[in-house]
């Protein structure tokens, strides 16, 4: 690891943080833009730079999620559930600190797992076929029951509506258009960025402007946020969030190893599991530091874990990992089992750069945190127009078309109506995020098993996940004792 590689990591971290903070600039998009920047770098410097971009964009995504209810990355969606309520309660700095420390922790642990256990864990990834993936998706969907809020039936309606809207686009098997009604822009489906930004950020701006006009008690303060009285994380807070962070890291590592799940599903899954395991004193969804830690630790654990199957068997575990493959190949490295023998210096260089990236992420995040938290002091009349602008820029840049922006606005308005009438936006997003992968896996599984449901019994991992789904639903439906 040379000085130039360390500079590359820090450069990547700064770029990644910027990308992460701005909504709409997704991690894969940032990586795609960053790959050409590495042409003149050494292989270690190039990979270190890209690792920095990826890691920091994951951590930076929490900033907008906490301060503006605008996830910088779709994977930060779950961070908004508790981060934004914390900011409104006057605990923005505490939420940002929790997000940062949980991010770094999840990332560090996953990196160590990558270093120590890559080969043995990669074998598990190879066992995940379509039948197993369908079972994992059913397991993930079962968490809709946990996140439905006060009305289970309305939560299910929202989740199923998300699944329905996820079917818009080309049919994954026959490639015939579904509910696109002649719009070519819909062939790839409704953009995920449009859905997350619309449903969370634009909806929140509509809620804010309504409160502003109604001059309710809620926004009688100058900023719309309660003043920050306490900015410190205490030992008691850290003791509360440690078990959650550990669980979230484990879930994130699992989501990273299993190809296709990715950070968004990993973070949502972790939030749902931790919410279900909450104690009587926890207040998930109302502004609890545990909720922020649950989402952020899992989100950041996904990337290093997704490199496990990439390094060990050449199988990328996420979109970001797939783009990293192109960067590897650009610099003459073919990922796979032989990479440890053919390029040991490169692999160990990458490992060191990943640890340096985690530390640099901590330093950059800690320095920027105080500055970011000042957003809460800005009056809503100044914030709302700029957040609306960010919403528009983010969705516009994703596909370079105004169609995505119209979709975002429509979904934002739908989200506003859903919130007003008690339908969960959270379960909608779970259904929408999981939908495409669920349908694809289900179709593949049906073909693989020749449409025989009994064939699932020859897939023990799938059986385990299906059993876990049944147990999870039973647990979620059981009334909680207080």
């Amino acid at each position: 690891m040379t000085l130039s590689s360390i500079v590359s990591v820090i450069g990547g971290i700064l770029l990644g943080y910027m990308v992460g903070v701005l909504p709409g600039l997704s991690r894969p998009a940032a990586l795609s833009v960053a790959v050409p920047l590495t042409y003149s770098m050494t292989p270690i410097g190039a990979i270190a730079f890209l690792v920095g971009v990826t890691k920091a964009s994951a951590a930076g995504g929490a900033t907008g999620a906490i301060l503006l209810n605008t996830p910088g990355e779709p994977s930060s969606t779950a961070t908004t559930f508790d981060g934004y309520p914390l900011a409104r309660k006057g605990e923005a700095t505490r939420a940002l600190k929790t997000a940062l420390y949980a991010s770094v922790f999840g990332d560090m642990v996953a990196t160590l797992v990558l270093i120590l256990l890559a080969a043995s864990l990669a074998r598990f990834a190879l066992k995940m076929g379509p039948v197993e993936m369908t079972a994992v998706m059913i397991f993930a969907l079962s968490f809709i029951a946990a996140l439905s809020g006060s009305s289970l039936s309305r939560g299910i309606i929202s989740g199923v509506l998300g699944l329905f809207l996820a079917t818009v686009g080309l049919d994954p098997e026959s490639a015939t258009p579904r509910m696109t009604f002649g719009f070519i822009e819909l062939f790839d489906g409704i953009p995920l960025i449009a859905a997350t930004v619309g449903m969370l950020a634009f909806t929140e701006m509509l809620v804010q402007v309504q409160a502003l006009f109604a001059a309710t008690e809620k926004t009688s303060t100058a900023s719309g946020f309660a003043p920050e009285r306490d900015r410190n994380l205490r030992f008691a807070d850290i003791r509360r969030i440690i078990p959650v962070t550990l669980r979230a890291t484990g879930i994130g590592i699992g989501a990273g190893i299993i190809p296709g799940l990715g950070p968004t599903i990993g973070a949502l899954l972790s939030y749902a599991v931790n919410k279900r395991l909450a104690g009587p004193d926890d207040a998930y969804g109302e502004g609890d530091l545990k909720g922020v830690a649950a989402s952020e630790a899992a989100d950041n654990a996904v990337l290093p874990a997704s490199l496990i199957p990439l390094f060990a068997i050449g199988l990328p575990g996420s979109v970001s990992a797939a783009i990293l493959v192109s960067a590897f190949m650009l610099h003459g490295v073919q990922p796979g089992p032989l990479v440890f023998e053919q390029h040991p210096r490169l692999i160990y260089g990458i490992y060191v750069s990943m640890i340096v990236a985690s530390l640099a992420m901590l330093a950059v995040g800690r320095l920027g945190l105080t500055l970011f938290a000042r957003v809460t002091l800005v009056p809503p009349r100044l914030i709302i127009p700029f957040v609306v602008l960010f919403c528009v820029i983010g969705t516009y840049l994703e596909r370079d078309t105004a169609f995505s922006v119209f979709a975002m606005l429509a979904l934002g308005f739908l989200g506003f109506l859903m919130q007003r009438f008690g339908y969960s936006v959270v379960t909608f997003l779970i259904g929408f995020v999981i939908g495409p992968l669920f349908e694809l896996s289900l179709r593949q599984a049906l073909i693989v098993t020749n449409h025989s449901p009994l064939a699932v019994f020859s897939h023990p991992i799938a059986v385990a996940f299906l059993a876990a789904s049944i147990v999870a639903v039973a647990l979620f439906l059981r009334p909680k004792r207080r």
Binding site: V33, V160, D171, T176, F213, F386, V388, A402, R420
Partner: protein, 137 residues
């Protein structure tokens, strides 16, 4: 009254999906796996069934209606209209001009009338958009 109105809207929407949107927007194929219509039909049916269940639960519980803020909807309509107009301008005139107009329109929609503040917001928005344009993102 409200549970019935809610049921009418959600159940009606699911029927519209089942009998108008899905048949008009999908075609049957003879592929080996699932029909392209399968998942949309199942999801629309579940929405309809769950709306019925919601009605039953609401009637059984007879819970008092949650209080929702009645005022302020004018602000929601103004901001939504400003965002829509700004997006049309982004589409027609490009990100820099349309985006700046969007910031100004949104500012007016939320009630900002001070000329200096409006000028500052517009200039800030334009600067940000030029930065995005310059960075090539």
């Amino acid at each position: 009254m409200r549970p019935f109105a809610e049921f009418a809207v959600v159940f009606g929407a699911s029927l519209a999906l089942l009998f108008i949107v899905i048949p008009a927007g999908t075609v049957e194929t003879d592929n080996f796996g699932l029909s392209p219509r399968m998942l949309p039909i199942v999801t629309a049916t579940v929405i309809g069934a769950m709306s019925l269940l919601t009605l039953v639960f609401d009637l059984l519980r007879a819970a008092p209606n949650e209080e929702r803020p009645a005022g302020g909807l004018r602000g929601v309509i103004l901001l939504a209209a400003a965002a829509l107009a700004g997006t049309v301008l982004v589409d027609r005139a490009g990100l820099a001009i349309g985006g700046t107009a969007l910031v100004l329109l949104s500012s007016l929609a939320v009630g900002e009338r001070r000329p200096l503040a409006l000028a500052g917001m517009g200039a800030g928005g334009l600067l940000l958009l030029l930065l995005v344009d310059w960075s090539g993102l």
